[in-house]
């Protein structure tokens, strides 16, 4: 076959409705799942050092199960497995987006809990000691001292998680949720012009991730505690032990 790239077809794909809608859907799903994952993950991270053995055990098993099983399996379990246990999940109110949101949030929470735990650990213990010495309550110390300092460490790996999650959303096609990658696949198989269809999708992903990188850089600057005169110089966040990142 002669090597060719039909720019017109590429542009058509790039500006088509399914691509645009698919990209918006992927971003929506990523943002809400990451947000929920962070919140749940935060409590899981705290639970790891709870004084109740039952809480610690629960967190251990939760992380174990959600990190060991493939995300695809979790999606299918929630979509096709739950109705077998409780037929209420086969009803039309249980939309694919909702199912994907639940699966991805629970999954992400397991990974975020380890990232957050590492972030909390990275804060010098003297900080909490000083807070206690002042008479601050543990909740205050967390909120005013520890969490802000932990967040600075947590931002880079969380950016990673956003990117991973964005790409994971394409798995939801198995539960009938059509997003960007599905739009590309369908377009490619309908006219056999794969190169143009896939390149257009790749462009979308590149743009989305680039936007994230800008947002992340801004966030990191906000959490650099130097007076504004010094802020102009770039500050690298202190190194933290690598959180295992599986290709899942």
């Amino acid at each position: 076959m002669p090597a060719s790239f039909d720019t017109h077809v590429f542009w058509e794909a790039l500006t088509s409705g399914p691509y645009w809608k698919g990209a918006i859907l992927a971003v929506e799903l990523t943002v809400v799942s990451l947000a929920a994952g962070c919140v749940i993950g935060f409590f899981l991270a705290l639970g790891r050092s709870s004084r109740f053995a039952g809480v610690r055990a629960f967190v251990f098993f939760y992380n174990w199960i959600f990190r060991a099983t493939p995300t695809l399996l979790q999606l299918l379990f929630i979509w096709n497995g739950l109705p077998q246990l409780w037929p209420v999940f086969a009803e039309s109110w249980f939309k694919p987006f909702l199912a994907a949101f639940i699966a991805l949030s629970l999954n992400e929470a397991a990974y975020m809990s380890e990232i957050i735990r590492a972030g909390l650990l990275s804060v010098d213990p003297g900080q909490e000691l000083a807070g206690r010495a002042l008479g601050m309550k543990r909740r205050s110390i967390l909120r005013r001292v520890i969490v802000p300092q932990a967040v600075r460490i947590i931002i880079p790996p969380t950016g990673n998680e956003f990117i991973t999650l964005l790409k994971l959303t394409s798995l939801a096609y198995v539960i009938s949720l059509h997003e960007l990658l599905t739009a590309a696949q369908i377009r490619g198989t309908s006219n056999f012009l794969y190169l143009e269809a896939y390149t257009a999708a790749a462009v979308y992903y590149l743009v989305l991730v680039s936007i994230l990188m800008i947002v992340q850089a801004q966030l990191e600057r906000r959490f650099t505690w130097r007076s504004s005169a010094r802020r102009r110089r770039r500050v690298a966040a202190p190194a933290m032990p690598a959180v295992p990142h599986d290709a899942r």
Partner: protein, 245 residues
């Protein structure tokens, strides 16, 4: 005899089976400055943390103005901790707040003051220790001596009944030690009740009401500075002094 502000009565404490405090008793009257010296591992810092109510004791009791505190619930302990100021060897300033923010923190979060009032008081204390112009600097940008002085202001602004210092100058470069000791001497002159763990013997001689020698989890000797340095009664005290002087 003036009233006792802080008292430890026969306190015992172990970590992982190792006994660190073996029946330690200490009494600090109002306005007194007690300096504790001794070899490392003698339990000085542990004692200080117990007095600050940061560590529970295994036996014995800690009294703040005659009120026994060892059996209290965490909720009540928290309230009392704010009445005892603590200054750490490594300053432990809150990295994510300016000097002003650090000093305000206790006022807003513990005493419940409004931000404006807290800021006013904080600025006043920062001025008092000569760091008013550094109010908006972050700890990363301050020298060790400046950080420690901010730490002292942070504790002081809570108007504590007593101030505890855990080797406050040990982590400082030599030329920065003086500025911190000056502040501490000023506090002593103003009548603050203080317990200081330190190696700065000249400071101790100059400022302390009495000096305690600790070794292996016990108080070996306590005496006013002149007697302590010129005629120590215990063998271990003599040996330690000969090592450090």
């Amino acid at each position: 005899m003036n009233d006792v502000v802080l008292r430890a009565a026969d306190v015992r404490k172990s970590y992982d089976g190792l006994e660190v405090l073996r029946g330690v008793s200490i009494e600090v009257g109002r306005g007194e400055v007690k300096v504790i010296i001794g070899p490392s591992g003698s339990g000085k810092s542990t004692l200080l943390r117990c007095l600050a109510l940061l560590e529970p004791v295994d036996a014995g009791d800690v009294y703040l103005e005659a009120e026994p505190l060892s059996g209290l619930r965490e909720r009540d302990l928290t309230a009392h901790r704010s009445e005892i100021g603590m200054v750490f060897q490594r300053f432990n300033l809150f990295q994510n707040m300016t000097a002003l923010g650090n000093v305000m923190c206790g006022l807003t979060d513990v005493r419940g003051l409004k931000k404006r009032e807290a800021r006013e008081q904080a600025l006043e204390f920062l001025d008092r220790i000569g760091l008013g112009d550094k109010a908006n600097s972050y700890p990363e940008e301050l020298s060790g001596g400046q950080q420690q002085r901010v730490a002292i202001a942070r504790a002081l602004v809570m108007r504590p009944k007593a101030m505890l210092f855990d080797e406050p100058t040990s982590a400082l470069d030599v030329e920065l030690v003086r500025e911190v000791l000056d502040v501490m001497e000023g506090l002593a002159r103003d009548g603050m009740t203080m317990v200081v763990v330190s190696h700065e013997l000249r400071f101790a001689h100059h400022v302390a009401s009495s000096i305690l020698m600790m070794d292996e989890g016990q108080v070996v000797e306590e005496a006013p500075p002149d007697r302590f340095f010129s005629a120590p009664s215990h063998e271990r005290t003599r040996r330690f002094l000969s090592l450090v002087e």
